[in-house]
């Protein structure tokens, strides 16, 4: 966790603001997020978007690394089945994340910290709902330091 | 088929014939209607027109009673009562805040009972009506009148379409009669202004009756006591204003079905209408089993 710009004032008593990373596909969800921008749809500022060519390129290791680096929640989003720019990326991702999600849950990660969604290029409003809803849910769950601080107990 | 029954205030008084005819036809159509005990008025227009929560709480209590008495469906023959029960059901289902306020007001949980209109029930039983019809009403031309609250507002409508419903016509065809096509089927008859602004009622009901007459209808069939009183009870006043007078009998859909099923027209309460139904009854050929039927003026 980059201490220099720790934007999370949770320790100084102010309200806890979750840090959420969103891995999104460039053709649908990223463009949908841009549309939310051009339509000035306001949403929670807690989400940091990482752009990838396709949900097929979103590696479960990214999600694990994001949690290790102190993310309190992760969003993975891409094109609706059938709309994938590369025809099949989201279908592969769907199977990979189905197994990954249940494995994480078995090992004790609360699945409410993880949101999977399909957001198309014309669903700016849906993207803002996904962001706000995940932020609210994760804020309720509180910080996920237990994962990042595993190193101290080790 | 067992079903809850919510008569509504008018079916005990000004619309007795609606209740009588209903009671007589449910047997042959093997539908058992059990009146919900200790039901109260649904508030009709006056409640929701002046206090939204009151307009939802009163019918919600009836829904609660029905659920407690084990009825999943409630037959509401009066269009206004059906509309209020459906509005309460929808408000409780879709708006948690109103639902909570209602349950606090009536002190019961609303449960899951749903209202069904008489037109929909009879449309679902139409095959049985056709099969059990004893007395053919072949050459009787019928104008089906839905009025407003039976089809509107769209989200409460339980018929097949908001703007082009055909369920009443289906029932009429099942009785052997011939529905005429006319325009004023869905227009409002003046409803609750019957006492307080009779001039509007006369104006609106007049256009409806004139259109039905223009379409060559022998009889006007309705499914709402308010519409019936405006079209039947006020018809004399309308006749004075309409050139060529006005003499169209206005009966309930359940009475028409009763006739087809061969029920005695007195038992159906056909004598209770202000506009005499004698003329149109006499044109119905005797029942196939030769049951004698003397039309009488006053029941």
């Amino acid at each position: 966790m980059n201490e220099a710009t720790a934007a999370r004032p949770s320790s100084e008593g102010e309200a806890f603001e979750p840090r959420i990373v969103a891995f999104v596909c460039n053709w649908c969800t990223y463009t949908g997020a841009d549309l939310a921008g051009t339509s000035r749809i306001q949403m929670a500022p807690n989400v940091r978007i990482v752009r990838l060519p396709c949900t097929g390129r979103i590696d479960p290791l990214f999600v694990v690394k994001a949690f290790e680096r102190g993310a309190d929640g992760v969003i993975v989003s891409g094109c609706h089945p059938g709309d994938c720019h590369y025809t099949a990326g989201n279908y592969h991702a769907r199977r990979r994340f189905a197994v990954f999600r249940e494995t994480l849950s078995f090992l004790g990660i609360d699945l409410d910290r993880l949101t999977f969604s399909w957001v198309s290029a014309s669903e700016g409003r849906k993207w803002s709902e996904i962001v706000n809803e995940t932020t609210a849910r994760v804020r309720e769950l509180g910080p996920f330091t237990s994962y990042r601080d595993l190193v101290d107990e080790g | 088929m067992k079903i809850g029954y919510f008569p509504g205030c008018s079916l005990h008084a000004t619309a007795r014939e609606y209740a009588e005819s209903l009671g007589v036809i449910t047997g042959p159509l093997d539908v058992e209607i059990n009146e919900i005990d200790d039901w109260a008025c649904c508030g009709a227009t006056s409640a929701h027109a002046t206090n939204h929560l009151l307009g939802v709480a009163l019918p919600a209590r009836t829904l609660a009673l029905a659920a407690e008495q084990g009825h999943e469906q409630i037959l509401a023959p009066c269009a206004a009562c059906y509309s209020r029960l459906a509005a309460a059901r929808r408000a409780v289902d879709n708006d948690p805040a109103t639902g909570a306020a209602v349950e606090k007001a009536i002190g019961r949980s609303v449960g899951t009972a749903r209202p069904i209109s008489l037109v929909r029930l009879l449309a679902e039983l139409a095959p049985k009506v056709r099969e059990k019809a004893k007395r053919p009403l072949e050459d009787i031309k019928v104008a089906c009148y839905y009025g407003c609250l039976l089809v509107r507002p769209p989200e409460l409508n339980d018929l097949d379409d908001v703007e082009a419903p055909t369920m009443m016509e289906t029932v009429v065809k099942a009785t052997g009669a011939k529905p005429v096509s006319w325009n004023r089927r869905l227009d409002c008859c003046g409803g609750g202004f019957s006492l307080s602004r009779t001039s509007s009622v006369v104006r609106l009901s007049r256009t409806i009756l004139e259109d039905a007459r223009g379409a060559g209808a022998d009889v006007l069939v309705v499914a709402c006591p308010m519409c019936h009183s405006n079209l039947d009870f006020r018809q004399k006043a309308i006749a004075r204003r309409s050139e060529g007078g006005m003499d169209i009998p206005v009966i309930y859909l359940s009475q028409l079905v009763g006739l087809a099923l061969g029920q005695d027209h007195v038992a159906l309460g056909l004598g209770r209408h202000f506009v005499s139904t004698a003329s149109f009854i006499s044109r119905i050929p005797g029942p196939r089993e030769g049951e004698s039927a003397a039309a009488t003026e006053v029941g």
Partner: protein, 204 residues
């Protein structure tokens, strides 16, 4: 006609939106509701005029208008509105607000009918036509209307002679209180609330 910047809660439109969830601004004044309104010929404010005045916060003129009381609540406007503005529900809410603020000026007969109707339900839980007609005549002064019809009604057995009271009368009274109290705590304005359902409504 002052033009408010946005439908802030202080405006009537804001109040309607808070109570009904409907946004009067969605109406683009196409007139389709007024085209189909059966009472359009008899009223000065047709449904789209009501929406227009709401958009421009013409509070006094709207709440004291007679037109909102001449609505048959037949829902034709709501069924055909291209933007689903639900004018019927909005006019319902305006009547209720007008009553709560004491600004309502319904025609005498209509006020009489509503009061008589709701008094009836409070007293016996079900409508007793005879009682309703008597109570309506006293309130409206239309003593001789439909007198000729009484024998016809009696002859046809259409007039119940005694009211049929329900057991749950106490529940009905509790409902009326709850609904009038609900109105008072959710009405933002301070004027004394009058509701025809309660005893004090005679002189509303």
């Amino acid at each position: 006609m002052s033009i408010p910047e946005s439908a802030a809660p202080a405006t009537l439109a804001g109040e309607v939106r808070r109570k009904t969830g409907l946004n009067p601004a969605t109406c683009y004044q196409c007139g389709k509701c007024s085209a189909g309104c059966p009472m359009a010929v008899e009223t000065s404010l047709r449904p789209h005029d009501v929406l227009r005045m709401l958009q421009f916060d013409d509070r006094e003129q709207l709440l004291s208008s007679e037109s909102i009381w001449l609505c048959l609540t037949c829902e034709t406007c709501t069924a055909r509105c291209p933007n689903s503005c639900d004018p019927a529900r909005i006019i319902d809410c305006l009547r209720e607000t007008a009553l709560n603020e004491g600004a309502a000026q319904p025609p005498r007969n209509i006020r009489a009918f509503h009061n008589a109707f709701l008094k009836q339900i409070q007293r016996s839980g079900r409508l007793f036509e005879m009682g309703l007609i008597m109570s309506y005549k006293m309130r409206s002064g239309a003593l001789f209307a439909d007198v000729m019809a009484a024998p016809g009604m009696l002859g046809r057995g259409k007039l119940a002679l005694a009211p049929s009271r329900i057991q749950g009368l106490e529940e009905i009274r509790r409902i009326f209180d709850a609904c009038t109290r609900h109105e008072s705590d959710s009405t933002s304005t301070t004027t004394a609330q009058q509701n025809p359902g309660t005893e004090g409504a005679e002189n509303a």
